[in-house]
Amino acid sequence: MEKIREKYAIVGVGESNRSKNSGVTPLELALEAARAALADAGLEAKDIDGFMSYSEMDSCNPHQVATYLGVRPKVVKEMFGGGSSTELLIAEAIGLIETGQANTVLIFRSMNGRSGVRMGGGGFSIDALQNGFDGGSFIIPYGAGSPGQWFGLFATRHMHLNGLTQEHLGHVCTSFYEHAQRNPKAFFYGKPLTMEEYMSTAHLSSPFTKHDYCLESDEANAIIVTSTERAKDCKSVPVKILGMAAREVVSHAHYWKNIDEVAADYVAPRLYENAGVSPEDIKVASIYDCFSWVVLRQLEAYGLVPKGEVGDFVSAGNLRMDGKLPTNTAGGMLSEGYTHGMNNVLEIVRQVRREYEGTERQVKDTELAICTGWTGPDVAGAMILCK
């Protein structure tokens, strides 16, 4: 991986409108996001020769998107997957470009996540849940049918062993909601959350209240990856990929077998080795936040905060704009929108470019940024970005 350090870059990012009911197909959302990313990069559709996407049977395919942009690409790829798929597909795009099979790749995630197939709220049949997971028949008969419950089993034990409290989860939520108040495109813009309000909200499923769950939104996001050399022809400020770890897994296919480990524990050492930097060097972060606790666990896994100090770190306001590690500065999936992590990638690219310069949204020090993905406790990927 050392030989690709700073050799590839994200040169375009874009999104569709974000709503609870788009009234259009995922294909139209994807086209809107793709056109926005192309405009951002200063590229034309014909400049893209690779199209890739991930979905959970709820989207359109990359061939369709290329077709309706009026181009015939060299490479199309669609994969089944949720969180951390963005990082994996960026790694694949780099591999394709490195081996001369593509020049410039557009990656998108498009979903009517609220009005169409909902991830946590009954979008899947019970038979599909029982058969789809390794060991599905050992959880579904017991009422564990939602990611909030699955991840909650990890959270309860981890919080118990590490002295983490409800209030620590609350600091993740209130920090991200605070960011959303500066982002007019965030779902919870104009809806701040106080700690008092958070602490008086009932659990949907312990230890999570509704604030600890990510949103559901109809939206598409797109990003464009190319070589740093080719990026010189783009009008955007390229954000270089310093290092990445595409996707790692835990030691067992069944993720409750060892609740004390998560995939991010394996991703982190490889990530820093590939990037040639240390966790202390990271100044701004996009941390996958399908649930508040997932952020706490990743801060620990990626060494961004020493184990045992995560609670104090978030209580001191360090995830906020003036903290030590401003995180999910557009509001994250808890309060901005939800595209299986890709909206967090868009935001970190904009921060590293310093696109918000002169406004209260710009993080002071953005020299080195981390962006993490989490499919579940069992699968994760991440990358480190710089200008």
Binding site: I126, Q130, P141, G143, L153, L204, K257
Partner: protein
């Protein structure tokens, strides 16, 4: 003529498949059957086509009987039904239980009649079987 009360089990019943059938067949008889590896001696739960610890195909089933105790390794208390049938049993305690005599086996189930006040990590429980239909029984946990 004596008529008996009919109880309709509304919750999802485990789907048997190639790998898990010996577990659920034993559950129907109110017994715990767990897959074990002959090569590395690890228990495999959930079961699979080969040992999830060492990859050996030399796996077999060990019957652990009907007296099963353990303690809560982790748990959640769900106040919202995410699956059918649970609306009548809120709050639902979903727990990962570590077996007392076989600590490398952890089994997920509900701690019946449990709530936020009574269940915590370390709570002692024992396995019971709930009749779902005339043919099927579901292992569950109750506090001891």
């Amino acid at each position: 003529m004596k008529e008996e009360t009919k109880v309709i089990y509304e919750k999802p019943i485990p789907l048997k498949n190639t790998y898990n059938a010996p577990y659920w067949d034993a559950a129907d008889r109110h017994e715990l059957n767990v897959q074990k590896c002959n090569t590395c001696s690890n228990y495999n739960h959930p079961p699979g086509p080969s040992c999830a610890n060492c990859g050996s195909i030399d796996v077999f089933w060990e019957n652990l009987g009907s007296t099963i105790t353990g303690e809560v390794y982790t748990y959640i208390v769900s106040n919202r039904p995410f699956l059918p049938g649970f609306q009548n049993e809120l709050p639902t305690v979903i727990a990962v239980v570590q077996l007392e005599e076989y600590p490398d086996i952890k089994i997920i189930g509900n701690v019946l009649h449990g709530n936020t006040e009574t269940v915590s990590i370390g709570t002692k429980v024992k396995m019971v079987w709930i009749e779902a239909t005339e043919e099927r029984a579901i292992p569950q946990w109750v506090m001891v």
